[in-house]
Symmetry: C2
Subunit: 574 residues, 2 copies
């Protein structure tokens, strides 16, 4: 059987930075060439970054992408890399298609270009456009209708893109009839918990359906709320895993495949080299161990923050360090993402802060080495309370807002990105102060329920201990009962159910979109279900005080509810 | 020819309030019956409100809607209204359809039910699902595939929904072959400037295509960022306008139509009454004058605010009144929407505020009768500046944030909705302070460029004068040069181009999505275009300091850009 050395580039593009992403392609092509690879694949829409959202509707952006792919083919040849066949995702358009009502202007397409010896020798456009969860591809793209097979060193290589693999009866079924030797699938598939098992099963099913080896390549990196986890896979037609990439890390996976010789009579869309290569000694196949569940989530949070800060030009972050578990975990993530020298933590005690708030915060600072300072908020709070005669909830909230204003003032003065420290359980039920603790350009725990916050803190400490390092999070921060400390003796359990119970109901109601009756049938107390659903529906006062358009999305690495702000729907559990 | 008395209910539902919306249907049915109407039509998805966003993906919400339409049929009969044929939009689902990857769970449909004598006698599901601009219907619905004709008093009445009308080759083409006497089209069509002319031309074209009279009924009311303008139309096959509803107001339009007798041999989906009515004397057809362009925009702003506040349970609003044009216009809109007794304006002078800021604000308060108070921000600002040693931009911003915190404290104490007063020009280029003047649950001028702010202020004053009333906005507020007053002698023109020029370029770049080269070719200075595009792309520091998921959308009554926050794309004009 012919051999082929395949290079899969798990790489991290920047949305909109077409020149920078093209430079990354050249860099990976040089590495692939140095490793002796014959075929290099890059992820879905790598040249533009992904997802580009409404940039896809901007005609000059479409043309910039189309021009860049042509220029890239020439640049590869100029760099003496033209013999490597390069498959790279980009933003294309369907030519000569009229603009009609309801179809995106200029008919943009989510496409892959095949580059060889200075030319674009073939283009494939994605057939199936996902329009659910975090995807809105009917808004942006016109579907492709053609299959594309390229003959490379005597092997027929078929191309599909991401969602094409998920749809029964999609192009994979068509490819089966064309008997390719290899099916290459570039993806931009965001991380969700436990998704890697689903992907592997899917790849095995489609490899069997196509009757050939399947190479599944995924992007890696953070883009706004999404984190792409890499975790690329190569699966044989019999389901055997031939190679697997790392999670949450860039890597050039190079592996040798023995693939069936193409029938030379069969028509293909492009031939880069008709006959097979002389036999050569193969390299060992790369494989990486899977991360444990907490390690995986933690890695996603670190990469998401690192890329959000880095791609947006922030060199440092600032956050309020309360001594509590949420801000301790955020500080630890920030240190792991950016290094402790780039992390500025501020203790912002009020008259209601307990002594352990300061000591626990200082303890964490000592353990991690981040920059630490204390700003007493009493003078600012007193100025508001005295001027406006505030009491009760208004006085509680003004403390949180003085903290938010203080962090933003430090951001303005020193250039840091402000990190918000709220977790998903709090945000789901509205237990936070708008323009107060909700202040921040990035909220690392926005998708992390409180019980998982505890689990991640324990995992991070245990992992450090296992490596003989100092656990970063003080034990007292993990064991003390959570409190917002906005009035004397306040505890979260004054306002909220026990977090284990709360998270369990939220998982059914928010992640599962299950009815009140279903949740009650699961054995939860109707009164508890009613209480949680009312709090969630009715994070309403909060939602309604946000400007329309700045919605709170409630998402768990892929589960993204888009609810109206003005919404009178409430389903009763009692 | 048979006669038919048609009632079109331009009415204002509340999203999620299925019981309340059903009660509105009963109310309108009673009014239609009292007026002798035979057929009553209500808008698209009236029973659930529109758009319901991810509520459509909640199985218990779908069932609630389906059950409600059955109960409504019975309730109409119980109220002795069962003889009126009622067509009402609701959320249905395609039965017996399997759940598959990428299709909304339970196959929800955007549908119309036909109710008569206690039963649902027919159901129509929308064929064409808009997924552009503010619409995401591929996310929510499964398309219908069938046409539906109901015979009412000897007239064949066909049904289409909203986008069905906009698509060439849609169900209207199929209906032409079925020769109906009337085509009824319920809509949820949001207001855009100058859209009414487009709608009229479209209705004429489709009436000609269907070969029959066309009744276009639109919702009225505000829902989050959208405002539905009513403006319903009845057009004959020859293009003549038979009736037209008011803009931005609820109304039951009742009119008599002479329509062709149905061929009794022709199959229809339901027959409520096969033969024509005895002749009766017709009523005069209702028509309403079109509003002028500024009157129309102003009415949209008033209705949008009234419904946002009312449907979310706010009885009053609070805003900062600076003496400038933006807050003066917002205060006036609020007084017109809710009455001056529900409007609380606060002057928040700093050490940099000019004397006319206070006198102009007080002048407006006197003219409108709203509640007015003065809160000096100097003590709170001094507490921050002294504690943190703030200078420059950080000191400027802290003033705006103290104002935001003060307004939120008053909201917490007194229960008002906070109104943000920023306009679209400022927001587009990032000329505002996050957590400062951007604070607020509703921003009436978010889609109104500065030049239009001036035009609306002048129009509102002239309109008052023409009615012999006191113009609400002080002349000095309109004529003085705009300033944020965050440092001595500051003017907007220190940081921004002249607003007329800025708005002109923004219109090309944001509304038109035109390239830098195109805008320059229009005669603008390349350096100016470059500056505005850089400011707009790069409201970036601002956008990046918003939490991902809380994006700034830049929209002009329908033009809604959804851009990545992390986005390195910049197109140069120089």
């Amino acid at each position: 059987m012919p051999q082929l050395r395949l290079a899969l580039a798990q790489a991290d593009p920047t949305v909109g930075d077409i020149a920078g992403n093209a430079a990354l392609v050249l860099d990976r092509a040089a590495a692939a060439h140095a490793a002796g690879a014959h075929l290099l694949v890059l992820p879905e829409m790598f040249l533009t970054g992904y997802p580009v959202e409404d940039l896809a509707l901007r005609p000059s952006f479409i043309e910039a992408s189309r021009n860049a792919v042509v220029a890239l083919a020439a640049d590869l040849t100029d760099a003496r890399l033209g013999e490597v066949v390069v498959m790279v995702g980009f933003l294309d358009r369907l030519e000569d298609a009229p603009d009609v009502v309801g179809r995106p202007r200029r008919s943009p397409q989510n496409a892959v270009a095949v580059l060889h010896r200075g030319s674009v020798v073939a283009r494939y456009a994605k057939h199936h456009l996902p329009n659910y969860g975090v995807f809105d591809e009917y808004r942006y793209f016109v579907p492709g209708t053609e299959t594309v097979v390229v003959r490379v060193h005597g092997v027929d290589v078929a191309i599909a893109i991401c969602e094409d693999l998920w749809q029964d009866g999609g192009p994979v079924a068509e490819y089966a009839a064309r008997a390719p030797g290899l099916l290459v699938v570039p993806n931009g598939s965001p991380y969700e918990r436990n998704k890697d098992d689903v992907r592997l099963a899917l790849c095995r099913r489609r490899a069997a359906e196509a009757g050939c080896t399947l190479a599944y390549l995924n992007t890696v990196g953070g883009q706004d709320e999404l984190v792409f986890d890499g975790d690329s896979l190569v699966v044989a037609a019999d389901g055997g895993v031939l190679a697997r990439g790392p999670q949450f890390a860039e890597e050039l996976l190079v592996l040798d495949l023995d693939l069936p010789l193409a029938d030379q009579e069969r028509l293909v869309e492009a031939v880069t080299s008709a006959g097979p290569l002389p036999a050569y000694p193969p390299l060992p196949a790369p494989t990486y161990e899977r991360l444990s569940d907490p390690a995986e989530v933690y890695a996603a949070l670190v990469l998401g923050l690192r890329d959000y800060a880095g791609k947006n030009g922030f060199r440092s972050v600032v956050l309020g360090l309360s001594g509590g578990i949420d801000s301790a975990l955020v500080a630890t993530i920030a240190c792991d993402a950016l290094g402790p020298d780039a992390v500025h933590a501020v203790s912002l005690p009020s008259v209601y802060s307990s002594s352990h708030s300061l000591s626990d915060a200082a303890d964490l600072a000592g353990r991690t080495g981040l920059h630490y300072r204390v700003v007493e908020i009493a003078p600012m709070v007193a100025a508001f309370v005295d001027s406006l005669g505030l009491t009760g909830l208004a006085e509680e909230n003004v403390q949180a807002r003085v903290r938010g204003t203080t962090l933003m003032a430090l951001s303005n003065s020193e250039g840091h990105l402000v990190l918000a420290t709220g977790n998903k359980s709090e945000l789901s039920v509205g237990y936070s102060t708008i323009y107060g603790d909700a202040v921040g350009g990035f909220a690392p725990l926005k998708d992390v329920p409180k019980t998982l916050v505890f689990a991640l803190a324990r995992w991070r400490n245990d992992d450090a201990a296992a490596r003989g390092e100092v656990p970063p999070i003080p034990e007292h921060t993990i064991t003390k009962p959570p409190s917002a400390e906005l009035r004397p003796g306040q505890l979260d359990t004054d306002s909220l159910p026990d977090y284990a119970l709360l998270d369990d109901v939220l998982d059914d109601y928010v992640e599962g979109d299950r009815s009140a009756a279903d949740v009650v049938a699961d054995g939860f107390e109707p009164a508890l279900v009613e209480r949680v659903m009312r709090m969630t529906d009715g994070a309403e006062w909060k939602r309604r005080q946000y400007p329309p358009g700045t919605k709170i999305t409630v998402r768990a690495f892929g589960r993204d509810r888009r609810l109206p702000i003005t919404n009178a729907w409430h389903e009763s559990a009692t």
